[in-house]
């Protein structure tokens, strides 16, 4: 069969349960802005029907499926990407800037000798081809990059793209992949760190509530979780809160932690050191509550409250609960 001349190949991150990762809709949305999305779902045969269906619903015109061994790290994904690339000859390859995505994109770009454009917050097309847009140095600069020639491999920051594509009656096709035999690490099953949590994952969350040193103790950090639950938000933290042991490092937002670009970011008791701002200032709306009116977080806040978070936050939660009734 033939593939769209303006095909954009999208590698779908597949979750351990065979679903499409939350990044999928944005990746396909971005792809639809610059061409016709062709999704690749690489997972052990027959385990990822949910991801295949999700890719169609999220706008893929074609979904290629590949049987990829989940016990070998990265290499099966790269082999599948290579086969899909050869078949579809896309104008660009979009991959989530997730841990799995970065590994696959890096190995594939090195193997196929493609320009690699990383951590894009947007993509577009001009007369000369595909352009990736980036926000660098903690959002202080906006840059554009492009490949000198050839289809670029682009990793897309999770949560950064609002565009969504229309659902398609996707044509599903099994991809034939020749194993490269490249050395691969063996990996075990993924054990969810917070299997009991019903909160959204920090990466890619639409709303994030973060707590800092101002929470004063691990016990009182619960207030952050309560506000997050009232908003259906993910829980983040500043490095100070992590270092103080209020919450595990996996929740750290910032330069050395997770970068987030939610619609709403609420910073509680966070002073706003540059390292923290680096990880959150691309949020669409920023709210800060802090006792210290001079805290740098207020420089980037759309709505700042100078006050005691222990009196303000319960009032917020109460007002939110009242609205739900």
């Amino acid at each position: 069969m033939s593939y769209p001349a303006d095909a954009i190949l999208v590698l779908v991150d597949v979750t351990p349960t065979g679903d499409a990762a939350p990044s999928t809709a944005a990746l396909l949305g971005a792809a639809a802005q610059i061409g016709t999305p062709v999704a690749l779902v690489a997972a052990p045969a027959g385990t990822a029907q949910a991801a295949v269906d999700a890719a169609g619903s999220a706008g893929a015109a074609v979904v290629l499926t590949a049987d990829a061994d989940a016990t070998a790290l990265t290499v099966p994904l790269v082999d599948a990407l290579q086969a899909a690339d050869a078949l579809v000859r896309p104008d660009a390859i979009l991959v989530s800037n997730s841990i799995a995505g970065r590994d696959a994109a890096g190995r594939f770009a090195a193997r196929a000798e493609r320009a690699l454009l990383v951590d894009a917050i947007g993509v577009s097309r001009d007369d000369e081809g595909i352009v990736a847009h980036h926000s660098v140095y903690g959002g202080a600069y906006l840059t554009d990059s492009a490949a000198t020639f050839g289809a670029p491999v682009i990793t897309v920051r999770q949560g950064a793209i609002d565009a969504r594509a229309e659902a398609q009656q996707a044509q599903v096709e099994e991809l034939s992949v020749t194993a490269s035999g490249a050395a691969a690490a063996s990996v075990g099953a993924i054990e969810a760190v917070e299997a009991t949590s019903s909160r959204p994952d920090l990466r890619g969350a639409a709303r994030v509530v973060s707590g800092g040193r101002g929470l004063a103790s691990k016990e009182k950090f619960v207030l952050v979780e309560q506000l997050a639950d009232a908003l259906g938000a993910a829980v983040g933290a500043s490095r100070a809160a992590v270092d103080a042991g209020y919450i595990p490092q996996s929740h750290q937002v910032g330069q050395t932690g997770v970068s987030v670009s939610p619609q709403l970011y609420i910073a509680l008791g966070i002073s706003g050191a540059i390292q923290h701002r680096a990880g959150m200032q691309t949020a669409k709306t920023i709210v800060a509550i802090n006792k210290d009116g001079e805290a740098p977080i207020f420089d980037v806040a759309d709505f700042g409250i100078v006050g005691d978070l222990f009196t303000v936050v319960p009032q917020v939660i109460e007002a939110l609960e009242a609205r739900k009734k």
């Binding site: 890096g106 190995r107 690699l116 690490a185």
Partner: protein
């Protein structure tokens, strides 16, 4: 066991970092240059591994301008046995593809058993180099390790994924990347600083490595535009007089955020 550790000089994140609006390149003179903390942690993993495997040698590798000598020496002062510093004007503004090719060439000539890197640098934060290096070297890669053990012929550990942790292992030689869940580096003491002056520091040019970075050979990433982001307009700032929480909820409702 021969262990290569990638160390990287970066602009200090404790200050404002600047990009040249003319070239899009980092203005190295505008902020203090430091060794990236995550690469110091990678070096710590190398030193602990070397100590547990007698006869090991730790080589710090950096691709950086000539001015980065002090940072490379810091890796020696912390405890690396020797260092390789790839410095060449032709590498100014090198993209990830060129960087990976050059680093792989420098590492390959040392016949490594293990290559250790940080998972993400604080400046580029691409997070792709470990996998690119592994592909070039023909090794397995084990990325995002939060715990790691190295034996004479294999590396095992716990790695972070986007959905939870998993156990991972690979035979040597391999490339691994570590996260900041692993311990911070030891601080160089006076003895280490003095010893560093006598340790071998090899400076290599592109010609020494015989790598072709001609942009006609393979596509490269180029910056096509760079702009300073307009400062965020200061928003509403109120002092709580008993109703700030209610006002915030009104703000969220008006902006369709709840």
């Amino acid at each position: 066991m021969k262990i290569f550790v990638l160390v990287k000089e970066v602009p200090d994140t404790y200050g404002d970092r600047t990009l040249s609006l003319a070239t899009g390149l980092a203005e190295r003179g505008a902020s203090d240059a430091v060794l990236d903390e995550i690469t110091e942690r990678a070096l710590e993993v190398a030193l602990v591994t070397a100590a547990a495997n007698p006869g090991s040698e730790v080589v710090a590798v950096s691709m950086a301008p000539e001015t980065a000598t002090a940072s490379v020496r810091r890796a020696l002062a912390i405890g690396a046995d020797s260092a390789v510093h790839i410095a060449d004007e032709a590498l100014r503004g090198a993209d990830l593809g060129v960087t990976a090719k050059v680093l792989a060439a420098a590492i390959r000539r040392g016949a490594p058993d293990l290559v250790i890197t940080g998972n993400l640098s604080t400046d580029g934060s691409g997070g792709v180099l470990p996998a690119m290096l592994a592909e070039h070297l023909g090794f397995a890669q084990v990325t995002a390790l939060s715990a790691v053990q190295v034996s004479a012929d294999a590396v095992t550990g716990t790695r972070a994924t986007d959905f939870g942790a998993q156990e991972a292992s690979a035979p040597l030689p391999a490339v691994i990347s570590i996260t900041e869940a692993l311990p911070d580096a030891r601080f160089p003491n006076f003895k280490g600083i003095m010893a560093a002056k006598k340790k071998p520091l090899e400076v290599l040019s592109l010609a020494d490595l015989d790598v072709d970075i001609d942009p006609a050979v393979a596509p490269q990433a180029i910056l096509t535009a760079v702009a300073e982001k307009p400062a965020r307009a200061a928003g509403v700032k109120i002092t709580d007089e008993g109703d700030a929480g209610t006002q915030l909820v009104e703000f969220l409702v008006q902006n369709r955020l709840v």
